[in-house]
Symmetry: C2
Subunit: 81 residues, 2 copies
């Protein structure tokens, strides 16, 4: 079982890294891209024999306590068999 955790800056938080990429894209004439936000992405391989419910609880806890800074970041996740 694998879990995919996506961490993004909250909408209210400035993203200078994304802004820099966006400026570079504009200079490179990629005119179809209006804005860029960068986030983090984690692939967690889960232990065999975890129930779906235990997996969800564990991934949620890890995402909340370890992978995300709750002051400035939000996360979403999905679990795949």
């Amino acid at each position: 079982m694998k879990a995919y955790v996506y961490v993004t800056l909250k909408v209210s938080v400035l993203d200078p890294q994304g802004q820099t990429i966006q400026n570079a894209l504009r200079k490179m004439r990629f005119t179809g891209i209006e804005s860029v936000r960068q986030g983090k992405y984690f692939v967690l391989t889960l232990a065999e024999g975890l129930t779906a419910e235990a997996a969800r609880a564990e991934v949620e806890q890890v995402a909340k306590d370890v992978l995300t800074n709750p002051v400035i970041e939000d996360f979403t996740y999905r679990i795949e068999e």
Copy 2:
């Protein structure tokens, strides 16, 4: 229209950052997580009026030329209306 681009290290490439997170999780008694790989995640806001095909071409080019280092990274993307 938004595009989501996921960049991960190729499977054959070591991921010390993911390894460090994994070690930390083990010490914190998150026993359900067997391995962690870290990647990057980009949210691109696309210009109004792009056709689906143009959007796909543009996002693919940006992902390939700017967001990914093809020597060590792979990418996937999805586009959402």
